[in-house]
């Protein structure tokens, strides 16, 4: 990891004191009688879900801010403790509902690490392709909504049109557009359909052109530059102290990507670059997202080539204690019938222990801490949400901004409230 020689984004630290996540109004700079406290309520078009920001305004300048979350706290962790391992996987994608494959993958990776089972390589590469397609999907949603909030409204339709193509691919493989439940403990739920790689290649051909189009619309647009350059600054030291990861960290000059630094799945076997920008503002985060989309397309292409080579290989592990036997065997083999029965009624058991698995979700470092007591149900599942950590940086990032810039900066943190509140 290297920190790019940044343009010294700012001196010292801007993390508020004493509470890092609450920016208090400084009585030396603002007259307290001038302060107007407004509520960016949970229902607001640009709060990316149900985020509530209590903002103290001095005229149009943000003098104080605090973020209130919890409006989407769904009790995932408690619900998952009462379901069998198999059933609890259904909850995982709904945590971060824009990068659903990623979170499913995360939870299943944690279970597989506890089990110690080996996943066949076709499944690994297919999971990687799906995760990267999901990354593009998440970045397109981010781009569409953030650009919409800043005022580049037509980007919403362009981005969502491309996103629909990705969802078509997910539907082809997993049966439904979102929350596909395609990742299974041991591999994939089903094999990839025969036309998947060719359709995905068509998408990979058109996607870079779309990214070029978006950049052509925004990169040198005077209004976009005014509204994003120099807004929402975050230095590398502050970012690390606030546990920022993903595009937030990479736009502040820190070259850190879990896919390169702590590779999981087969990321050490694919070639891709990690975009790092040094200015720490909204414009750099936007550039990181755009470049990441291009890199993801590269990765998907490589995965598709490898998947074509592996055509016909098994897509799920062979361990009958964990994975359902193929249906045709149930007619002939007594053991398969018993395994099927036990797995369906009670569920497989996972050996005792605890693991903490992390992946590079589109928002940053997503982690899953699973504790098992050896039974058929999880004892404790804990999701480390990158959005939760990103929202902690709100108070640092919005210092000195105007109200309109606050929206741009809060959008660039890319919070997904399902992820933050779990």
């Amino acid at each position: 990891m290297t920190v790019l020689p940044s343009t010294r984004i700012y001196e010292g630290t801007r993390i508020p004191h004493p509470v890092p996540t609450i920016l208090e109004v400084d009585p030396d700079e603002h007259r307290l009688e001038d302060i107007l406290t407004i509520n960016f309520g949970p229902n607001h078009p640009s709060t990316h879900g149900v985020l509530r920001l209590i903002v103290d305004l001095d005229g149009e300048t943000v003098a104080g801010i605090r973020a209130v979350i919890g409006y989407l706290h769904t009790g995932f962790e408690k619900n998952m403790e009462s379901k069998s391992w198999w059933k609890s996987v259904t909850y995982a994608p709904r945590v971060d509902y824009v990068s659903f494959h990623g979170h499913e993958l995360l939870y299943v990776l944690a279970i597989e690490q506890l089990l110690g089972i080996e996943v066949p390589r076709r499944a690994t590469w297919a999971r990687m392709a799906m995760a990267e397609l999901n990354r593009i999907h998440s970045h397109l949603v981010w781009l569409g909504t953030s650009a919409l909030e800043i005022g580049a409204i037509s980007l919403f339709w362009y981005a969502f049109d491309d996103r629909d193509q990705i969802l078509d691919l997910f539907e082809m493989a997993g049966g439904t557009r979102m929350h596909t439940r395609y990742v299974q403990v041991g591999g994939l739920a089903e094999d990839l359909p025969p036309a998947f790689t060719s359709e995905a290649r068509k998408f990979c051909k058109s996607m870079p052109k779309s990214v070029d189009q978006y950049e052509a619309l925004l990169d040198r647009n005077a209004i976009w530059l005014e509204r994003t350059k120099g807004i929402g600054l975050l230095s590398a030291d502050d970012a690390l102290a606030l546990a920022q990861s993903g595009p937030m960290l990479r736009s502040s000059g820190v070259n850190w990507d879990l896919r390169k630094n702590q590779p999981y799945l087969a990321y050490d076997e694919v070639e891709f670059d990690v975009p790092v920008y040094a200015n720490g503002d909204v414009y750099d985060r936007y550039k990181v997202h755009m470049d990441e989309m291009r890199e993801s397309v590269r990765i998907v292409r490589q995965c598709l080539d490898r998947l074509d080579e592996m055509d016909g290989e098994p897509w799920i592990a062979d361990d009958r204690k964990v994975v359902l036997p193929p249906r045709h065997e149930l007619h002939t083999s007594m053991e398969s019938l018993i395994h099927h029965f036990k797995i369906v009624t009670e569920g497989f058991t996972v050996p005792e222990g605890e693991v903490y698995v992390t992946i590079e979700s589109p928002r940053g470092e997503a982690g899953c801490y699973v504790v098992s007591d050896g039974s058929a149900r999880p004892w404790r599942v804990r999701f480390r949400a990158p959005s939760f950590a990103a929202l902690q940086a709100t108070a640092t990032v919005v210092q000195g901004l105007l109200v309109a810039d606050l929206i741009a900066a809060a959008g660039s943190l890319d919070p997904i409230m399902g992820d933050a509140d779990r």
Binding site: G41, P42, N43, H44, P45, G49, V50, G70, Y71, L72, H73, T74, G75, K78, N79, T90, Y91, R94, Y97, V98, F100, V141, G144, T145, F156, W157, F160, D161, R163, D164, L167, T176, R177, M178, H179, M417, G418
Partner: protein, 191 residues
């Protein structure tokens, strides 16, 4: 095809799917209501106008919000129904599409937004979580948004496809045109 005026105006959804069958249950019920209410021509015209420009409120909460956003996108264009104007101010919205799981913490803002809407107003509970609590039967999720607001249409799915949400919206339009009163006039909130 029956000779009901409304049927000529085009109750579409089931007939699109099954062109050879007669009027479905929904269509028959709406026709009965239309008979019972004996709408005048003015009321029919008003209902027609209302149904063609129902402006939804941006009440996206969770995963269903992503599918609601994709119904605005160009493939599942909602603008052909005159509904592309999502308004964030409830005072200018007609339809509250509750898309996503509603927590107890969010229930108060939801009710507040609903109260701020001007009548006539309709509510679509989109998805399993809004209709019944979905897969989250726990301490924090409201088991169905119809506990706090009266709901006109429940759209099942987790999340419902944009086409499924569109079916719900079309049925809402048909209800409006058929003269079915909005939910707050005919029922209170659930138990």
């Amino acid at each position: 095809m029956s000779d009901r005026p409304l049927a000529k105006a085009g109750l579409q959804s089931e007939r699109v799917l099954w062109p050879d069958r007669g009027p479905g249950v929904f269509e028959r019920e709406v026709a009965e209501i239309e008979d019972a209410l004996l709408l005048t021509t003015i009321e029919k015209a008003v209902a027609w106008a209302q149904s063609n420009s129902v402006w939804p409120d941006t009440f996206g909460l969770a995963c269903c919000a992503i599918e609601m956003m994709s119904i605005v996108s160009s493939r599942y264009d909602i603008a052909r129904f005159g509904m592309e104007r999502f308004s964030s101010s409830p005072r200018q919205a007609d339809l509250l599409i509750v898309s996503g799981r509603v927590t107890h913490k969010m229930a108060a803002p939801l009710r507040q937004v609903y109260d701020q809407m001007l009548e006539p107003k309709w509510v679509i509970a989109m998805g399993a979580c809004a209709s019944s609590g979905g897969m989250f039967n726990n301490y924090t999720i409201l088991q169905g948004v119809d506990k706090i607001v009266p709901v006109d249409i429940h759209v099942p799915g987790c999340p419902p496809r944009p086409e499924a949400l569109m079916e719900g919206i079309i049925r809402l339009h048909e209800k409006i045109r058929g003269g079915v009163p909005p939910a707050y006039q005919i029922r209170g909130v659930a138990e």
